[in-house]
Symmetry: C2
Subunit: 146 residues, 2 copies
Amino acid sequence: MKIPRLSVVTLGVGDLIKATTFYETILGTPPNQSYDGVTFFELPGTWISLYPLESLAKDISPEVPPARSGFSGITLAHNVHGKGEVIDIIERAKAAGARVMKEPQETSWGGFSGYFADLDGYCWEVAWGPMFEFAENGDLRFRDNT
Amino acid sequence: MKIPRLSVVTLGVGDLIKATTFYETILGTPPNQSYDGVTFFELPGTWISLYPLESLAKDISPEVPPARSGFSGITLAHNVHGKGEVIDIIERAKAAGARVMKEPQETSWGGFSGYFADLDGYCWEVAWGPMFEFAENGDLRFRDNT
């Protein structure tokens, strides 16, 4: 069987225009906005999509409350090639309006990372670690230490 | 500038062993469990990682409540090649203990999709749509209608 993949992560947002501007700034790439009322950032690997929170809840089921509060329970990680890149990206996110949840720092697992929350409170970790490397296509992989 | 990418999506779970078994069943691929206390499914594109919810909250910041309730605000989508595949995957998830939130059905946007919630309530959409196709490496893309 083919290995399945995560195609799209959709974030339910409070203000689609503001959220789109925020992500365009931090991702440094324009979205595809050919589809009304939804924003797609066609990133390599897995897309990031933005959709009004109420509409997203309704799309799942009428049982799903069209509001949220507190921690989503999910983090999104962007792994990078070095510590300096962690610092740069957290700075860029902050300048775009993100809230820095954890300043870039050494981690217990031997890496270096920081966290920011986007305009709707979704948490991103920006991380570098010595056990990670990148395949030619950019996919993350564990460094082969054998 | 290189286009950034989403490297890993981490789900904060209540029971790491049960959640690992669930995802191994529905993904049909074994995880890398070389790292204690965290599970990595090294999917092409973006990894899925499972980590105890309390630890995940603490990793972000002491301010983040180590509990969650209700809708996370985020959905994870697995785009597939046809309607039959949507039905098969939702069935497989259900058999593994998922709660079907929306039975597979035609969508307002001309596609066909269903939703299931995993053991911790995180919502997955399994979708097919005529506007989507797949690159050779499996990345999702919009069909070129020009």
